[in-house]
Symmetry: C2
Protein backbone atom coordinates (compact mmCIF):
# COMPACT_ATOMS: atom_id res chain seq x y z
CA UNK A 1 0.00 0.00 0.00
CA UNK A 2 1.24 3.45 -0.90
CA UNK A 3 0.52 5.16 2.38
CA UNK A 4 1.52 2.43 4.78
CA UNK A 5 4.07 3.13 7.48
CA UNK A 6 7.37 1.38 7.06
CA UNK A 7 8.25 0.68 10.70
CA UNK A 8 4.71 -0.63 11.19
CA UNK A 9 5.00 -2.99 8.23
CA UNK A 10 8.30 -4.32 9.45
CA UNK A 11 6.90 -5.02 12.91
CA UNK A 12 3.81 -6.72 11.46
CA UNK A 13 6.11 -8.81 9.31
CA UNK A 14 8.11 -9.91 12.36
CA UNK A 15 4.95 -10.97 14.16
CA UNK A 16 3.80 -13.07 11.20
CA UNK A 17 6.86 -15.26 11.75
CA UNK A 18 5.30 -16.59 14.95
CA UNK A 19 3.33 -19.83 14.60
CA UNK A 20 -0.29 -19.49 13.45
CA UNK A 21 -0.09 -15.69 13.29
CA UNK A 22 -1.51 -14.26 10.07
CA UNK A 23 -1.63 -10.72 8.74
CA UNK A 24 -4.68 -9.64 10.77
CA UNK A 25 -3.42 -11.00 14.08
CA UNK A 26 0.02 -9.53 13.45
CA UNK A 27 -1.55 -6.13 12.80
CA UNK A 28 -3.49 -6.43 16.04
CA UNK A 29 -0.30 -7.26 17.95
CA UNK A 30 1.59 -4.39 16.33
CA UNK A 31 -1.27 -2.05 17.22
CA UNK A 32 -1.03 -3.21 20.84
CA UNK A 33 2.71 -2.62 20.86
CA UNK A 34 2.25 0.98 19.69
CA UNK A 35 -0.20 1.50 22.53
CA UNK A 36 2.09 -0.01 25.18
CA UNK A 37 4.21 2.34 27.22
CA UNK A 38 7.81 2.71 26.13
CA UNK A 39 9.35 0.76 28.99
CA UNK A 40 7.19 -2.29 28.32
CA UNK A 41 8.28 -2.30 24.68
CA UNK A 42 11.94 -1.97 25.66
CA UNK A 43 11.52 -4.83 28.10
CA UNK A 44 9.80 -6.92 25.43
CA UNK A 45 12.65 -6.35 22.97
CA UNK A 46 15.20 -7.08 25.66
CA UNK A 47 13.46 -10.29 26.73
CA UNK A 48 13.52 -11.49 23.13
CA UNK A 49 17.26 -10.95 22.86
CA UNK A 50 18.00 -12.34 26.31
CA UNK A 51 15.98 -15.50 25.78
CA UNK A 52 17.62 -16.19 22.44
CA UNK A 53 21.07 -15.45 23.89
CA UNK A 54 20.83 -17.25 27.22
CA UNK A 55 18.89 -20.34 26.37
CA UNK A 56 20.85 -23.27 25.05
CA UNK A 57 20.16 -26.97 25.22
CA UNK A 58 21.17 -29.15 28.15
CA UNK A 59 23.95 -31.38 26.81
CA UNK A 60 22.49 -34.38 28.62
CA UNK A 61 18.74 -34.30 28.09
CA UNK A 62 18.37 -31.70 25.32
CA UNK A 63 15.92 -29.58 27.29
CA UNK A 64 16.25 -25.78 27.38
CA UNK A 65 18.72 -24.59 29.93
CA UNK A 66 20.69 -21.51 30.86
CA UNK A 67 23.60 -23.71 31.90
CA UNK A 68 25.44 -26.55 30.15
CA UNK A 69 23.50 -29.07 32.22
CA UNK A 70 19.91 -28.27 33.17
CA UNK A 71 18.73 -28.13 36.77
CA UNK A 72 16.81 -31.39 36.42
CA UNK A 73 19.75 -33.39 35.08
CA UNK A 74 22.01 -31.80 37.69
CA UNK A 75 19.85 -32.73 40.66
CA UNK A 76 18.07 -35.99 39.90
CA UNK A 77 18.97 -39.60 39.28
CA UNK A 78 18.70 -40.90 35.71
CA UNK A 79 17.45 -44.35 36.74
CA UNK A 80 14.18 -43.41 35.08
CA UNK A 81 14.17 -41.31 31.91
CA UNK A 82 10.98 -39.88 30.46
CA UNK A 83 11.24 -39.42 26.68
CA UNK A 84 9.29 -36.47 25.24
CA UNK A 85 9.01 -34.79 21.88
CA UNK A 86 9.66 -31.13 22.77
CA UNK A 87 10.98 -28.99 25.64
CA UNK A 88 7.48 -27.74 26.39
CA UNK A 89 6.40 -31.32 27.14
CA UNK A 90 8.88 -31.32 30.02
CA UNK A 91 7.05 -28.34 31.51
CA UNK A 92 3.76 -30.21 31.20
CA UNK A 93 5.17 -33.37 32.80
CA UNK A 94 6.72 -31.36 35.63
CA UNK A 95 3.28 -29.96 36.52
CA UNK A 96 2.29 -33.46 37.63
CA UNK A 97 4.72 -33.15 40.53
CA UNK A 98 5.09 -36.86 41.25
CA UNK A 99 7.74 -37.73 38.71
CA UNK A 100 11.27 -37.64 40.05
CA UNK A 101 13.32 -38.97 37.18
CA UNK A 102 15.03 -37.10 34.37
CA UNK A 103 13.94 -36.39 30.81
CA UNK A 104 15.15 -36.88 27.29
CA UNK A 105 13.93 -34.41 24.69
CA UNK A 106 13.87 -35.85 21.16
CA UNK A 107 13.27 -32.53 19.40
CA UNK A 108 10.83 -34.12 17.01
CA UNK A 109 9.31 -37.47 16.19
CA UNK A 110 9.79 -39.88 13.31
CA UNK A 111 7.86 -38.60 10.32
CA UNK A 112 8.78 -40.21 7.00
CA UNK A 113 6.40 -37.92 5.08
CA UNK A 114 8.34 -34.88 6.29
CA UNK A 115 11.61 -36.71 5.81
CA UNK A 116 12.31 -37.06 9.53
CA UNK A 117 14.19 -40.28 10.19
CA UNK A 118 15.90 -41.75 13.30
CA UNK A 119 19.03 -39.67 12.68
CA UNK A 120 17.10 -36.40 12.72
CA UNK A 121 15.90 -36.71 16.29
CA UNK A 122 17.94 -37.33 19.45
CA UNK A 123 17.71 -41.13 19.51
CA UNK A 124 21.49 -41.68 19.31
CA UNK A 125 21.98 -39.51 22.40
CA UNK A 126 19.36 -41.54 24.27
CA UNK A 127 21.14 -44.80 23.45
CA UNK A 128 24.41 -43.26 24.66
CA UNK A 129 22.81 -42.33 27.98
CA UNK A 130 21.45 -45.85 28.33
CA UNK A 131 24.83 -47.41 27.52
CA UNK A 132 26.78 -45.15 29.85
CA UNK A 133 24.53 -45.00 32.88
CA UNK A 134 22.51 -47.16 35.19
CA UNK A 135 19.18 -46.54 33.49
CA UNK A 136 16.46 -48.92 34.69
CA UNK A 137 13.33 -47.64 32.97
CA UNK A 138 12.46 -45.54 29.96
CA UNK A 139 8.99 -43.98 29.98
CA UNK A 140 7.80 -43.06 26.48
CA UNK A 141 5.73 -39.89 26.69
CA UNK A 142 5.49 -38.89 23.04
CA UNK A 143 2.10 -37.73 21.80
CA UNK A 144 -0.71 -40.22 21.16
CA UNK A 145 -0.79 -39.59 17.42
CA UNK A 146 0.51 -41.81 14.63
CA UNK A 147 4.01 -40.29 14.60
CA UNK A 148 4.27 -40.32 18.39
CA UNK A 149 3.21 -43.96 18.57
CA UNK A 150 5.59 -44.98 15.80
CA UNK A 151 8.51 -43.20 17.47
CA UNK A 152 7.67 -44.81 20.75
CA UNK A 153 7.56 -48.31 19.18
CA UNK A 154 10.80 -47.70 17.30
CA UNK A 155 12.70 -46.65 20.43
CA UNK A 156 11.20 -49.49 22.47
CA UNK A 157 12.49 -52.02 19.94
CA UNK A 158 15.99 -50.52 20.10
CA UNK A 159 16.07 -50.59 23.89
CA UNK A 160 14.44 -53.94 24.73
CA UNK A 161 17.54 -56.00 23.65
CA UNK A 162 19.60 -53.95 26.13
CA UNK A 163 17.49 -55.27 29.00
CA UNK A 164 15.86 -51.91 29.72
CA UNK A 165 12.24 -51.73 30.86
CA UNK A 166 10.35 -49.54 28.41
CA UNK A 167 6.90 -48.25 29.36
CA UNK A 168 4.34 -46.00 27.72
CA UNK A 169 1.97 -43.49 29.35
CA UNK A 170 -1.44 -45.16 29.85
CA UNK A 171 -4.07 -44.35 27.27
CA UNK A 172 -7.78 -44.21 28.02
CA UNK A 173 -10.66 -41.94 28.89
CA UNK A 174 -9.66 -38.47 30.12
CA UNK A 175 -10.49 -37.74 33.75
CA UNK A 176 -13.77 -35.90 34.05
CA UNK A 177 -14.80 -36.52 30.46
CA UNK A 178 -18.01 -38.12 29.16
CA UNK A 179 -17.71 -41.59 27.63
CA UNK A 180 -20.29 -40.34 25.14
CA UNK A 181 -17.72 -38.02 23.58
CA UNK A 182 -14.74 -40.39 23.58
CA UNK A 183 -13.66 -41.57 20.14
CA UNK A 184 -13.69 -45.26 19.21
CA UNK A 185 -9.93 -45.74 19.24
CA UNK A 186 -9.59 -44.27 22.73
CA UNK A 187 -12.52 -46.35 23.99
CA UNK A 188 -11.12 -49.52 22.48
CA UNK A 189 -7.74 -48.81 24.12
CA UNK A 190 -9.41 -48.05 27.43
CA UNK A 191 -11.30 -51.34 27.27
CA UNK A 192 -8.18 -53.29 26.39
CA UNK A 193 -6.17 -51.74 29.25
CA UNK A 194 -9.00 -51.97 31.81
CA UNK A 195 -7.93 -52.72 35.35
CA UNK A 196 -9.52 -54.32 38.37
CA UNK A 197 -10.86 -51.99 41.06
CA UNK B 1 7.81 -23.81 38.94
CA UNK B 2 11.10 -24.67 40.55
CA UNK B 3 12.98 -25.70 37.46
CA UNK B 4 11.67 -23.14 35.01
CA UNK B 5 14.09 -20.98 33.07
CA UNK B 6 14.09 -17.33 33.97
CA UNK B 7 14.71 -15.76 30.56
CA UNK B 8 12.02 -18.03 29.13
CA UNK B 9 9.49 -16.98 31.76
CA UNK B 10 10.22 -13.33 31.14
CA UNK B 11 9.72 -13.72 27.39
CA UNK B 12 6.48 -15.66 27.88
CA UNK B 13 5.34 -12.92 30.23
CA UNK B 14 6.03 -10.26 27.58
CA UNK B 15 4.00 -12.17 25.00
CA UNK B 16 1.01 -12.47 27.35
CA UNK B 17 0.74 -8.67 27.21
CA UNK B 18 -0.42 -8.91 23.60
CA UNK B 19 -4.20 -8.98 23.08
CA UNK B 20 -5.89 -12.38 23.43
CA UNK B 21 -2.60 -14.17 24.12
CA UNK B 22 -2.78 -16.52 27.11
CA UNK B 23 -0.12 -18.61 28.81
CA UNK B 24 -0.22 -21.49 26.31
CA UNK B 25 -0.03 -19.29 23.21
CA UNK B 26 2.72 -17.20 24.78
CA UNK B 27 4.72 -20.36 25.48
CA UNK B 28 4.26 -21.44 21.88
CA UNK B 29 5.50 -18.06 20.63
CA UNK B 30 8.49 -18.13 22.97
CA UNK B 31 9.31 -21.63 21.78
CA UNK B 32 9.24 -20.36 18.20
CA UNK B 33 11.54 -17.48 19.09
CA UNK B 34 14.12 -19.86 20.58
CA UNK B 35 14.02 -21.84 17.35
CA UNK B 36 14.41 -18.79 15.10
CA UNK B 37 17.87 -17.92 13.89
CA UNK B 38 19.66 -15.20 15.79
CA UNK B 39 19.36 -12.52 13.12
CA UNK B 40 15.60 -12.89 12.91
CA UNK B 41 15.31 -12.42 16.66
CA UNK B 42 17.55 -9.35 16.57
CA UNK B 43 15.46 -7.93 13.75
CA UNK B 44 12.27 -8.66 15.69
CA UNK B 45 13.57 -6.84 18.78
CA UNK B 46 14.76 -3.97 16.65
CA UNK B 47 11.44 -3.67 14.83
CA UNK B 48 9.64 -3.47 18.16
CA UNK B 49 11.82 -0.59 19.31
CA UNK B 50 11.76 1.19 15.96
CA UNK B 51 8.00 1.00 15.61
CA UNK B 52 7.46 2.32 19.12
CA UNK B 53 10.04 5.07 18.59
CA UNK B 54 9.14 6.21 15.08
CA UNK B 55 5.40 6.02 15.08
CA UNK B 56 3.54 9.00 16.41
CA UNK B 57 0.10 10.31 15.62
CA UNK B 58 -0.66 12.66 12.73
CA UNK B 59 -1.53 15.97 14.36
CA UNK B 60 -4.39 16.49 11.93
CA UNK B 61 -6.23 13.17 11.63
CA UNK B 62 -4.78 11.21 14.54
CA UNK B 63 -3.69 8.31 12.36
CA UNK B 64 -0.29 6.67 12.82
CA UNK B 65 2.45 8.49 11.05
CA UNK B 66 6.22 8.72 11.00
CA UNK B 67 5.94 12.47 10.34
CA UNK B 68 4.01 15.24 12.08
CA UNK B 69 1.41 15.15 9.32
CA UNK B 70 0.59 11.79 7.73
CA UNK B 71 0.94 11.16 4.00
CA UNK B 72 -2.83 11.14 3.50
CA UNK B 73 -3.44 14.50 5.19
CA UNK B 74 -0.42 15.95 3.38
CA UNK B 75 -1.59 14.97 -0.09
CA UNK B 76 -5.39 15.00 -0.17
CA UNK B 77 -8.18 17.51 0.18
CA UNK B 78 -10.19 17.47 3.40
CA UNK B 79 -13.50 18.30 1.71
CA UNK B 80 -14.60 14.82 2.71
CA UNK B 81 -13.55 13.34 6.01
CA UNK B 82 -14.15 9.70 6.90
CA UNK B 83 -14.46 9.21 10.67
CA UNK B 84 -13.18 5.86 12.01
CA UNK B 85 -12.60 4.34 15.40
CA UNK B 86 -8.98 3.18 15.14
CA UNK B 87 -5.89 3.59 12.93
CA UNK B 88 -6.32 0.06 11.59
CA UNK B 89 -9.72 1.03 10.18
CA UNK B 90 -7.92 3.53 7.93
CA UNK B 91 -5.92 0.65 6.48
CA UNK B 92 -9.14 -1.25 5.81
CA UNK B 93 -10.82 1.75 4.16
CA UNK B 94 -7.75 2.43 2.03
CA UNK B 95 -7.97 -1.09 0.59
CA UNK B 96 -11.20 -0.03 -1.15
CA UNK B 97 -9.14 2.27 -3.37
CA UNK B 98 -11.96 4.55 -4.45
CA UNK B 99 -12.01 6.91 -1.52
CA UNK B 100 -9.98 10.06 -2.04
CA UNK B 101 -10.77 12.12 1.03
CA UNK B 102 -8.98 12.25 4.37
CA UNK B 103 -9.68 10.50 7.66
CA UNK B 104 -10.29 11.34 11.26
CA UNK B 105 -9.34 8.70 13.82
CA UNK B 106 -11.37 8.93 17.04
CA UNK B 107 -9.20 6.50 19.03
CA UNK B 108 -12.24 4.90 20.59
CA UNK B 109 -15.99 5.22 20.65
CA UNK B 110 -18.45 6.48 23.24
CA UNK B 111 -18.94 3.79 25.85
CA UNK B 112 -20.59 4.97 29.08
CA UNK B 113 -20.18 1.54 30.71
CA UNK B 114 -16.41 1.82 30.35
CA UNK B 115 -16.53 5.49 31.32
CA UNK B 116 -15.67 6.71 27.81
CA UNK B 117 -17.38 10.05 27.19
CA UNK B 118 -17.15 12.62 24.36
CA UNK B 119 -14.03 14.18 25.90
CA UNK B 120 -12.14 10.88 25.86
CA UNK B 121 -12.21 10.47 22.09
CA UNK B 122 -11.09 12.91 19.41
CA UNK B 123 -14.42 14.65 18.81
CA UNK B 124 -13.15 18.12 19.78
CA UNK B 125 -10.38 17.84 17.17
CA UNK B 126 -12.95 16.87 14.54
CA UNK B 127 -15.06 19.96 15.33
CA UNK B 128 -11.94 22.13 15.06
CA UNK B 129 -11.17 20.71 11.62
CA UNK B 130 -14.75 21.39 10.53
CA UNK B 131 -14.65 24.95 11.86
CA UNK B 132 -11.27 25.79 10.31
CA UNK B 133 -11.54 24.15 6.92
CA UNK B 134 -13.82 23.81 3.97
CA UNK B 135 -15.27 20.46 4.95
CA UNK B 136 -18.32 19.49 2.89
CA UNK B 137 -19.09 15.97 4.02
CA UNK B 138 -18.37 13.76 7.01
CA UNK B 139 -18.69 10.02 6.42
CA UNK B 140 -19.23 8.09 9.64
CA UNK B 141 -17.46 4.74 9.38
CA UNK B 142 -17.53 3.58 12.99
CA UNK B 143 -18.42 -0.08 13.58
CA UNK B 144 -22.00 -1.30 13.27
CA UNK B 145 -22.31 -2.17 16.95
CA UNK B 146 -24.20 -0.31 19.66
CA UNK B 147 -21.27 1.91 20.65
CA UNK B 148 -20.32 2.65 17.06
CA UNK B 149 -23.89 3.59 16.17
CA UNK B 150 -24.26 5.79 19.25
CA UNK B 151 -20.99 7.59 18.51
CA UNK B 152 -22.05 8.10 14.93
CA UNK B 153 -25.42 9.57 16.00
CA UNK B 154 -23.78 11.79 18.61
CA UNK B 155 -21.30 13.28 16.14
CA UNK B 156 -23.98 13.69 13.47
CA UNK B 157 -26.08 15.78 15.87
CA UNK B 158 -23.12 18.01 16.71
CA UNK B 159 -22.31 18.60 13.04
CA UNK B 160 -25.74 19.02 11.46
CA UNK B 161 -26.28 22.55 12.93
CA UNK B 162 -23.01 23.62 11.26
CA UNK B 163 -24.49 22.84 7.85
CA UNK B 164 -22.27 19.85 7.19
CA UNK B 165 -23.57 16.84 5.30
CA UNK B 166 -23.15 13.79 7.52
CA UNK B 167 -23.46 10.32 6.01
CA UNK B 168 -23.11 6.78 7.31
CA UNK B 169 -21.73 3.71 5.52
CA UNK B 170 -24.65 1.71 4.09
CA UNK B 171 -25.78 -1.28 6.09
CA UNK B 172 -27.23 -4.43 4.58
CA UNK B 173 -26.47 -7.93 3.38
CA UNK B 174 -22.75 -8.67 2.90
CA UNK B 175 -21.73 -9.28 -0.69
CA UNK B 176 -21.65 -12.99 -1.49
CA UNK B 177 -23.47 -14.02 1.66
CA UNK B 178 -26.68 -16.06 1.98
CA UNK B 179 -29.84 -14.26 3.05
CA UNK B 180 -30.57 -17.39 5.04
CA UNK B 181 -27.73 -16.59 7.43
CA UNK B 182 -28.31 -12.85 7.79
CA UNK B 183 -29.56 -11.78 11.22
CA UNK B 184 -32.92 -10.03 11.63
CA UNK B 185 -31.52 -6.58 12.37
CA UNK B 186 -29.35 -6.61 9.27
CA UNK B 187 -32.20 -7.89 7.12
CA UNK B 188 -34.57 -5.26 8.48
CA UNK B 189 -31.99 -2.55 7.75
CA UNK B 190 -31.39 -3.93 4.26
CA UNK B 191 -35.12 -3.89 3.56
CA UNK B 192 -35.50 -0.36 4.85
CA UNK B 193 -32.56 0.93 2.75
CA UNK B 194 -33.54 -1.03 -0.39
CA UNK B 195 -32.87 0.73 -3.67
CA UNK B 196 -34.26 0.58 -7.15
CA UNK B 197 -32.30 -1.43 -9.73
Amino acid sequence: MKNSIESMDRLVNSFTKLPAVGQKTAERYAYAVINMNENDVKEFANNLLQAKQNIKFCKICGNWSEDDVCSICASRSSETICVVKEPKDVVVMERVRNYNGTYHVLHGVLNPLQGKGPDDIRIKELLERVNNGNVKEIIMATNSDVEGEATSMYIARLLKPLGIKVTRLAQGISMGSDIEYADEVTLSRALQDRREI
